[in-house]
């Protein structure tokens, strides 16, 4: 069998003296929750979740998008413009909003790479062990989001008595999650994301009775309507934030959890 050695120029030198160019892994950015059958083969490439904060990315979306665009859509565009990608896969199914569908067209117009649109209507749940576990909420979110790139295989026990819950989409400012006691349940679209059923409306609006729940939506996100409606229905707290959480929003969440006896 031939042995090989890496060269600095991206080629491999085989023991028989021939040099072969190594196939570079393609850089593929994705947004939302594309179907598993689309994501799975892409994991052999370098897969980047464009919804997440990526260090060093400069903000250029402001001039390209209306000011009433939510931070997550802005972030997807900022990341897409900065990362020198080979392809973008963006879910535009009923689990996403019109802004995401519009953004797919914006990306198509601004970048010279393929923009693949998917429709994730999956209803076969992968389960929600992370959302229901006793872990700190910020850790849960990291695991759920990382799970799209690297599927998690953790043996997690559900918290038998979650002290509180947070409903919504993953927040642009993760400091919101530090306000919750460990084991607080993750509900809403984030839960659907872990379950790989982003268009499962029934799961998204399902809220356990009697659990102190904060209903969060990104400012300018259409989910604000549902967040406020559910907060009224379930005697919870509705908050919205545009990017970084203000002190007043943090104080409202703290006070709500305090007076509802949710601090452990």
């Amino acid at each position: 069998m031939l042995s090989s050695a890496e060269n600095g120029d991206g080629s491999k030198l085989l023991s028989n003296g021939y040099r072969y160019m190594v196939q570079q892994r393609r850089r593929i950015g994705f947004a939302g929750c594309p179907p598993e059958e689309v994501l799975a083969p892409l994991r052999e490439q370098t897969l980047i979740d464009l919804d997440n904060v990526i260090e060093g990315v400069t903000l250029r979306s402001e001039s390209a998008l209306p000011r009433t665009t939510c931070r997550i859509i802005q972030r997807i565009l900022d990341n897409a413009l900065a990362l020198d990608l080979d392809e973008i896969v963006i879910d535009v199914g009923s689990g996403k909003c019109d802004a995401a569908r519009g953004l797919a067209d914006v990306l198509d117009g601004m970048l010279r790479i393929p923009v693949t649109r998917t429709q994730n209507d999956n209803r076969v749940g992968a389960g929600t062990p992370i959302s229901d576990s006793g872990l700190p909420v910020a850790r849960k979110l990291v695991l759920i989001l990382d799970g799209l790139v690297r599927p998690q295989r953790l043996a997690l026990e559900p918290d038998p008595n979650p002290p509180a819950a947070i409903w919504g989409v993953p927040a642009a400012d993760f400091s919101i999650y530090d306000l919750f006691p460990d084991g607080s349940q993750v509900l809403g679209w984030t839960r659907c994301l872990e379950n790989r059923t982003p268009a499962d409306w029934e799961m998204e609006v399902s809220v356990p009775d009697g659990r102190p729940t904060v209903f969060f939506a990104q400012t300018f996100c259409p989910k604000n309507v549902t967040a406020q409606h559910l907060a009224r229905k379930h005697n919870g707290l509705y908050v919205d934030a545009d990017g970084v959480l203000s002190q007043s929003v943090k104080a409202k969440i703290e006070a709500f959890l305090y007076f509802r006896g949710a601090r452990r």
Binding site: S248, A251, A255, Y258, F259
Partner: protein, 219 residues
């Protein structure tokens, strides 16, 4: 026993629970001052124990108001917040630092600029739509340029703040008021007719820290 502090945007309120001494000083003059328990916009790094302002407001109300159910509105120099309590249950609350931004601060500023005695100004029937202090001030100067007297323009501005704060709190028929605006007679009389406003003064949040101090001492 110890020192409790509400380190607000403009004013710092201090209570020494041992001597009973109460002090109000400008926050800019309170540099380096520390307390045992603190609340307020500038409270972090001022005390080993920090209590969030909404919690301090609710606890202050529980100490000072002899009713099981109350709505307590705090109009500060930077923001507006309220809690609606029934016993230990929080029925509603909110805190805005955008729509009510800098309204109290602006009223104070206008008072010193025009040299006004707010206790001598009659409330106005009209109001300036005050969404934030800066925008409100722009409208106020517009009125002055149209020939409205400074006193009337400021009275409309005060009424605008009162209406805005009342709406923000859910338009209650009866409310308790906290914060520096309690001492502003013009503001107190600018709420809609029929609304029962009881001013509690500037020390409501500080009073709300007493329980936390006692808890800390018991540890």
């Amino acid at each position: 026993m110890g020192v409790l502090g509400d380190f607000g945007t403009t004013w710092t309120k201090l209570l020494n629970t041992q001597s009973g001494d109460r002090r109000v000083l400008r926050t800019k003059d309170a540099k380096g001052l520390v307390a045992d328990v603190a609340t307020g916009h500038n409270a972090r790094r001022r005390a080993p124990r920090h209590v969030n302002e909404l919690i301090a407001l609710a606890h202050g109300g529980q100490r000072l108001i002899d009713e099981r159910e109350f709505l307590l509105l705090d109009v500060g120099s930077r923001d507006v917040k309220y809690v609606h309590m029934r016993g230990c249950e929080l029925l509603a609350m909110d805190w805005t630092s955008t729509c009510g931004a800098l309204t109290g601060f602006t009223l104070e500023l206008l008072g010193s600029y025009y040299g006004l005695d707010y206790s001598a100004i009659e409330p106005s029937e009209k109001s300036v739509p005050v969404t934030c202090g800066v925008l409100g001030m722009e409208q106020l100067f517009e009125l002055v340029s149209q020939g409205v007297s400074e006193v009337e323009a400021v009275a409309r501005f005060a009424r605008g703040i009162a209406l805005n704060a009342h709406r923000f709190a859910g338009e209650p028929k009866r409310l308790y008021l906290s914060g520096g605006m309690c001492e502003n007679q013009l503001f107190l009389h600018s709420f809609p007719r029929g609304v029962d406003v009881t001013p509690l003064g500037q020390f409501v949040l500080v009073e709300g820290l007493i329980g936390e101090l006692e808890k800390t001492a018991g540890r």
